[in-house]
């Protein structure tokens, strides 16, 4: 698979860059079988994969598309990802998809599912309500029933049974790239000089545009390459980046952040594609395994209420465990979940004496000079305090 791209690119990271630049329409074109678009943040990919569909990231279009129609559907105060995602559809770049899935992450995503349903009657539009309560609150049984409902809808659409064995196989398939992404992030936390933040981002983002087996191979190749690197550690500030879990920042912004003097030791870019802290259990009822993993083995997220792990406390813990010196809040413009969380995060970090800075972004932004200045000033205030 992906032979055209393999032939021209030299290293795994370069290949990942090309795949990301080509974006979703190209990923749909490249894949010979049917594909399924997954809007952020987390989606139970295994269910679609087991149905013979390739889950692909339906995550906006950054600066690659001009908004011609979507502005008339969503107001000026709505985030860019909602508009560029809709624009992809209105410009007929998603017609080859079998369907798309949206989730209970925010009010905009929920309404976007409706707008998709009305405007693209040919697509199978799934809306999954992911549990917003703790594992002990009947949430697991509920989530199993919700996943089974989504499965039944897919079965009806595809006129095909999706058996538990197929779902277990898909869980095994996805556990591999997810474990490799965890390794990538371990390296970043331990030796950030080995992998730049934009390299890590690109490698993860590329996974949203390709089959999981290919993604695993790409990650393995990259990890092997990183192991041989002997880069010197620079005098930089170790930061955790938080807030870019849905709409993704342009790579240029991530580069600027590092160039301005940061090592990104942890972030929540493409959070849904590396949602689990451990493997999903590969035996037993696979749907229950996915539900349990969502509730108990998942990362904290601004799009999920978890009474057992308040996010603002978890962020402080993560700052400590990664040895970070500061936090860069990077919410997408108009992103309510991230902008709300900022208040509690800030309050908790100030209690713990952790410095922080707020940098709002938009996927379409293309000049970063102001941001560079802000981050440089922030970094200097920490290095020369």
């Amino acid at each position: 698979m992906n032979t055209a791209i393999t032939a021209v690119a030299t290293s795994p990271v370069a290949r990942a860059k090309e795949i990301c630049a080509a974006g979703l329409p190209d990923a749909i074109r490249r894949h010979p079988g049917p594909a399924f678009g997954c809007f952020p943040v987390y989606s139970p990919f295994e269910l679609y994969h087991a149905a013979g569909l390739l889950p692909l990231g339906l995550m906006g279009a950054g600066g690659t598309i001009d908004i011609v129609h979507a502005d008339a559907r969503f107001q000026s105060f709505v985030c860019s990802i909602a508009k560029t995602t809709l624009e992809l559809g209105l410009q007929k770049r998603l017609t080859a998809l079998e369907g798309v899935a949206f989730h209970s992450i925010c009010d905009v995503a929920r309404n976007l599912a409706s707008v998709f349903r009305r405007n693209f009657p040919g697509l199978h539009v799934e809306y999954i309500h992911l549990a917003q309560n703790g594992a002990g609150d009947a949430a697991e049984d509920y989530l199993v029933s919700e996943y089974r409902r989504a499965l039944a809808g897919l079965e009806e659409r595809l006129k095909r049974r999706i058996g538990d064995e197929a779902i277990r196989a898909s869980i095994r398939t996805y556990n591999r790239p997810r474990a490799l992404m965890r390794r990538l992030y371990e390296i970043r936390a331990r030796e950030p000089e080995r992998v730049t933040a934009s390299e890590a981002f690109t490698l993860v983002r590329a996974g949203t545009f390709m089959p999981p087996e290919d993604h695993a191979a790409l990650l393995e190749g990259s990890l092997a390459e990183f192991a041989t690197r002997r880069n010197k550690r620079m005098d930089r500030v170790r930061v955790v980046v938080e807030g870019a879990f849905c709409e993704q920042p342009p790579v240029g912004l991530i580069d600027v952040m590092e160039a301005a003097g940061c090592y990104v030791v942890d972030d929540d870019f493409c959070a849904g594609w590396r949602w689990f802290r451990e493997d999903v259990i590969e035996t037993g009822d696979p749907v229950r395994a996915l539900a349990r993993a969502y509730l108990s083995r998942s990362r904290c997220s601004s799009t999920r209420h978890d009474p057992d792990r308040p996010r603002h406390l978890e962020l402080v813990e993560r700052v400590k465990s990664t040895g970070a010196q500061a936090v860069v809040f990077m919410p997408a413009k108009f992103c309510e979940p991230a902008l709300f969380d900022y208040v509690l995060f800030r309050r908790e970090l100030e209690k713990a004496g952790v410095p922080h800075i707020l940098i709002e972004f938009e996927e379409k932004m293309w000049t970063f000079e102001r941001t560079r200045g802000e981050i440089e000033t922030f970094v200097e205030s920490l290095l020369f305090d």
């Binding site: 709505v78 929920r110 709300f340």
Partner: protein, 416 residues
């Protein structure tokens, strides 16, 4: 401009003030209280334990209508809230849960918070913040979003009922009282009476002229139905309201001297400029015969009633199925379509508010559906429900005048 505001207005004020007095008393004497949201709420359960419900949304809208919201919003923005966050939350942060807690003694610090998460994701954030700032426990009632076929699955219902039982446990712990299902049944019977009255009042707006403005006057009834539901006061209030409106229908009276246009309004009102906004419609003789905002708490006009025989299950049904917020945008299109047809409306007015993306995100698509697909004259205007900075009277007047002028022209052409 003066509209007819009869018994309903006075009585609503009376029983709502009595509730505010009870809150002030609770702030003083420590009667158990809990915060809860308006949409698809389960206030009956709190009431069965004599826990006084506090509704932060109602506090926020009162502040806006009294033109007190802006300094509180600015205070919240100093706390780190963004100009893009819901201003209801910001007003509440500034007033109630920001550092120091409620300061004027009018609202109690609640014993706990009940987040009835029905659609609005901001509800979750709002109560997470209240809980963190006030240091009180939060009970989350996660209500699965309604599916396109309008039917919750068995798993959805089981999940909600299980969480309601957990809420009951919390209420027992806080009050030291044992749960009494017969008491809940009595309360549900009172809720059913109020629901029936509210449904009948709205049905009366199918008459020409409509006896009240189903957008602007509805707030007099939204308090009793959403806040006081389950009390005798609320049930009696709706009996009186229906009586008054039936008399008005018989006498062919409406809120304005003359009803020239019948409109359906979608979206919450601009509370900081309620009066001014209303006047822009009254000037054209436009009366709202239905509104979606009046159904945020619940939709009774299609037959839903609390059921004393199945108290918990019927409470779960209100939360899952019968309120605007837990229904999809497309289900809202269908609701509006029914309103336009069955309430015989001339036009649809969409008031898009920045604060509430649940309401507003995608209203451009809604306009496309009604104007282009169904041929219903549709006006879309923008401001906010709480933040006065987003309301521009001159621009609003221009848009509304232009719309009704063209509507009048159309009517004339049709008659000719």
């Amino acid at each position: 401009m003066a509209e007819y505001q009869g018994v309903v207005h006075t009585k609503s004020r009376e029983i709502m003030s009595a509730w505010y007095d009870r809150l002030a008393a609770a702030a003083k004497n420590g009667t158990p209280s809990a915060c809860i949201m308006i949409s698809g709420n389960c206030v009956e359960i709190l009431r069965s334990f004599d826990i006084e419900p506090v509704f932060p949304e109602v506090n926020a809208l009162q502040l806006a209508i009294r033109k007190q919201s802006l300094p509180l919003i600015l205070k919240a923005e100093e706390m780190g809230y963004s100009s893009d966050n819901c201003a209801y939350v910001k007003a509440d942060a500034g007033y109630t849960f920001g550092e120091g807690g409620p300061s004027d003694g009018k609202i109690p610090v609640p014993n706990f918070l009940v987040c009835n998460f029905v659609g609005c994701n901001v509800y979750i954030k709002w109560f997470e913040h209240s809980a963190a700032f006030l240091g009180v426990p939060l009970v989350m009632i996660d209500v699965p979003f309604l599916h396109p076929d309008g039917k919750p699955t068995e798993g959805d219902v089981r999940y909600v009922v299980a969480q309601l039982r957990k809420l009951i446990e919390t209420c027992e712990k806080v009050t030291g009282k044992k749960f009494d299902i017969d008491r809940l049944r009595e309360i549900c019977a009172l809720s059913a009476r109020a629901g029936a009255g509210w449904a009948r009042a709205k049905e009366l707006c199918q008459n020409t002229p409509a006896p009240f403005d189903a957008y602007f006057d509805s707030i007099n009834m939204m308090g009793p139905i959403n806040v006081l539901r389950g009390t005798k006061d609320a049930a009696d209030f709706f009996d009186a309201a229906v009586k008054e409106y039936e008399e008005m229908v018989a006498a062919k009276k409406g809120p304005l001297a003359q009803e020239k246009f019948r409109i359906v309004v979608e979206g919450p009102p601009p509370y900081p400029y309620y009066r001014q906004f209303r006047d822009l419609f009254a000037a054209w003789g436009a009366v709202a015969v239905q509104s979606t905002y009046s159904t945020v708490g619940g939709i009774w006009e299609w037959g839903f009633r609390h059921d004393p025989k199945r108290p918990l299950e019927s409470i779960a049904e209100l939360m899952l199925v019968n309120n605007l917020c837990n229904r999809s945008l497309l289900q809202r299109y269908e609701q509006i379509k029914r309103y336009v047809e069955e309430w015989k409306a001339d036009a649809l007015v969409i008031h898009s508010v920045k604060s509430c993306r649940l309401f507003s995100a995608g209203q451009g698509d809604m306009r496309d559906y009604f104007a282009n697909q169904l041929g219903v004259p549709t006006l879309l205007v923008e401001s906010d429900l709480e933040d006065p900075r987003y309301y521009a009277q001159a621009m609003m007047k221009n848009r509304i005048d232009a719309f009704f002028e063209s509507l009048e022209h159309r009517k004339l052409l049709r008659r000719a």
